[in-house]
């Protein structure tokens, strides 16, 4: 075992052409990840023609690295412009963008880049540890548990918008939940609130909603306010010392980093739970476990670390069912699975018995790829961060074009541009009125998941599904969380400690 493990690492780093391919994959993955709307899924689909001629190991390492580092660079636009690349990154904008506004873009980037690298590595470690117990763990989660995990995520709204904003937060959250019912009804198969508009049959496009809720309002307010994103001038703000202080935030919050990475990896492991669930659940967890939750939304560094560790940690996790069951853990992995088949990798139980060396190579590729990505980003982010000091009036038109393209590319439906405009008006209204916007995304992301799995669980077991052992554990977690939220919101004489989310 140990021999295979390190033999694989040695083979990986001592083969120049594989390392070269990995470097190309990291750079391409990072570049693609910067564009909002172009996820890992699309980048792999575009890269598949290139791997036809490669041998099995090189091709697999290339594609996996390309996919794994994709999320790492998405955080740059989230932090600097408040533009999330997708649903996962939306959680990073909540605290990342306020930090950039305070002129601390470098600190936020240092922390988030390091966090995602560490998250990716911990995800790979979880992968390695989980190999022997994979099957029983994955089989424990059924639609009943999917429903309760989605509900757990939704209950975090109570922490994201507590205090004086609790009512607004609930309204916005329910609004997101209502919109998540647009599309095919999973019970009757009839379109709901979609009529003849086929583009709505699969629900409201998440990328469109996220861009409209977060990116466009921030850009509009920047354009009307004038000045640059950062309130602090360039020469005072960016320094490598600040970047380093951001990097050091990760070891300072090591316990949070480990928890959120592991949560991310485990959520990634379970097919059927969306990737965005991981980032939001971990963000909620960071707020809920913090001694000073009032800082969140205004630039708490933990609010950047938690979702980034989670979204990179889940890559290691989602590779597990893909390789060992042939069942992809995420949509990106579904594409990767197709590519693996092209390369002649036949996923299944035989991966452990016959191809353990390949499995280890892939684990190491995750680790090394993440390290290279962290290195490249830490060195290059200085030039990117400069953009936050450019006058907003120059920047805004370009970014809005960027957002529009991202929105179109993700689903290739022109109608989504109309949705983008409508939601942007709504998002801007929320922002001007000081209403929280993150509960909206949580409602939209988790609502559909909750509904579909509730329906399946009821079909399978009726109401007795609530009595399944793991269901009981999850229910008690939800009840405990709600009780804690009540306690924190309504404890006498402490009302000033309530969370004021500005995002």
């Amino acid at each position: 075992m140990i021999e295979t493990m390190f033999g694989a690492l040695f083979n990986l780093v001592s083969t120049p052409h594989i390392m070269g391919l990995m470097l190309i994959a990291v750079v391409c993955g990072l570049l693609v990840g910067v564009m909002p709307g172009i996820g890992g899924k699309l980048s792999i689909a575009m890269a598949i023609p290139f791997v036809y001629g490669m041998d099995m190991v090189a091709g697999a390492v290339f594609l996996l690295t390309l996919h794994a580092v994709n999320g790492t660079s998405g955080q740059i636009s989230s932090i600097m412009f408040g533009i999330p690349g997708d649903g996962d990154d939306a959680a990073t904008t909540l605290d990342g963008y306020p930090l950039a506004k305070q002129g601390q873009a470098a600190r936020a980037l240092g922390a988030s880049i390091t966090a995602s690298g560490v998250g990716g590595i911990i995800g790979a470690v979880v992968f390695a540890i989980m190999i022997p117990v994979l099957e029983p763990v994955i089989l424990m989660f059924s639609p009943a548990e999917f429903f309760l995990i989605a509900l757990l995520g939704i209950s975090f709204i109570a922490f994201l918008a507590s205090g004086s904003k609790i009512v607004k937060g609930l309204i916005v959250g329910f609004y997101g939940l209502i919109l998540s019912t647009i599309g095919m009804d999973p019970i009757t198969g009839t379109p709901r609130y979609a009529g003849d508009m086929l583009f709505l049959w699969d629900g409201v496009s998440l990328v469109t909603a996220v861009l409209a809720m977060f990116a466009v309002p921030e850009m509009l307010s920047l354009a009307t306010k004038g000045g640059s994103i950062s309130a602090v001038s360039m020469d005072k703000a960016f320094s490598y010392r600040q970047l380093l202080s951001g990097v050091m935030e990760v070891p300072r919050h090591w316990w949070l980093v480990i928890r959120t990475s592991v949560i991310g990896a485990i959520i990634g492991m379970i097919p059927g739970l969306g990737g965005s669930t991981a980032a939001w659940l971990c963000y909620g967890h960071a707020v809920q476990s913090s001694k000073t939750p009032e800082r969140f939304g205004k630039g708490a560094i933990e609010g950047v670390i938690a979702p980034e560790t989670a979204s990179n940690g889940k890559e290691g996790g989602s590779l597990l069912p893909t390789l060992f069951f042939g069942i992809p853990g995420s949509s990106g992995m579904a594409v990767l699975l197709g590519a693996f088949l092209i390369l002649g990798i036949q996923p299944g139980a035989t991966m452990v018995t016959k191809h353990l060396d390949l499995v280890w190579t892939l684990i190491w590729a995750l680790v090394v790829g993440n390290l290279i990505a962290v290195g490249i980003l830490l060195v290059s982010c200085r030039w990117i961060a400069v953009l936050t000091f450019v006058n907003g009036r120059v920047l805004v038109p370009f970014i809005l074009i960027f957002v529009t393209i991202g929105c179109f590319v993700s689903d290739v439906q022109w109608q989504n541009l109309v949705v983008l405009v409508l939601f942007s008006i709504l998002g801007y209204g929320f922002q001007r009125a000081g209403w929280p916007r993150s509960p909206f995304v949580i409602g939209l992301v988790l609502g559909g998941q909750a509904e579909a799995s509730l329906h399946q669980a009821l079909q399978l077991w009726g109401y007795s599904f609530f009595l399944r052992p793991l269901s009981l554990v999850l229910i008690s977690m939800i009840v405990g969380l709600m009780a804690y939220a009540f306690y924190r919101n309504f404890r006498p004489g402490k009302s000033h400690a309530s969370v004021e989310l500005n995002t």
Binding site: K41, I44, S142, D202, P271, S331
Partner: protein
Amino acid sequence: MNMHSIRKAVAGAATFAAIAATPAMAQEGADFFNGKTVNYIVATAPGGGYDTNARLVAEFMQKYLPGSTFVVQNMPGAGHLIGANYVYASEPDGLTFGTFNTGLIYGQLAGDPAIKFDLGNMSWIGKVASDPRVMVVTKDSGIDSFEQLAASKEPVKFASAGVGSASTIETTMLVKALNLPVEIISGYNGGDDQLAMRRGEVQGIIASRSSFQDFVNEGNAKIIAQIGGSETDVPQLSALVGDKPDAQKVIALVASQSNISRLTAGPAGIPEDRLKALRDAYAKATTDPEFLKKAESLGLPVDPKVGDDVATVVKAALDQTPEIVSVLQETLKKD
């Protein structure tokens, strides 16, 4: 060298290649594609069987239509309806065609108002695969044969994809027509159905053989009946249900579907010579040794048919008796 002469040179070379490769009849049609961009529409998101197959077909059709450039465009959504409607509504100039789920035929038969196409009128280019359906039950279900399933006192739970998907329609139709003690649990997408069977929350499924062969080989489940296909290792469902005309008709409908999987079709009215060129290119593409090798490594079953052969099957499948249509409408009825 100006653009004109470059074009001439390219055209000349392409024509030469075309003469060498194709019979004189398709000349004119094949020439048309020289220097043109062809949009190949895929009605699903990137990744997955349809997309992989489409990219492979496009790559090799381009090889056999000299001078053409194939662009694969994904147009996912609404259970392949967006892509199929788009293909049907596009200009019939031979430059736009694509692939979508054959299962849309059920919706057309039942008169789904969202369907804006007529499969019988489409310009059929070809199909790559036959994908016979199988009835699979898990090892833990204790069921060993179709007879045992049919005689089960307790309802047996079968997984299916989303409501309205071809998988759910086929399962519902068969369960109704054969009067099986099966309860259908819908909403399992992608590989979720196999996980659900491993977890034991469902005991069976009616699905395509290619997607369940490995699952069965690994010892998780057993195939108890098959619809369509030429394999002889499992009994055909039609031989198991006896002389029930309605059941036989439903089985025949599903079987005809399974024979035209991974199709390529364009809008009605593509000019005859261009369609001929496309079909010729398709025939060469799907028999290219390199294509076959890649398809095999991808686990894509290959059993190609070209042009009119496919159109005949589709038209035959669309010609259903009012009883079957009402069974379908009943199945698709929104309750």
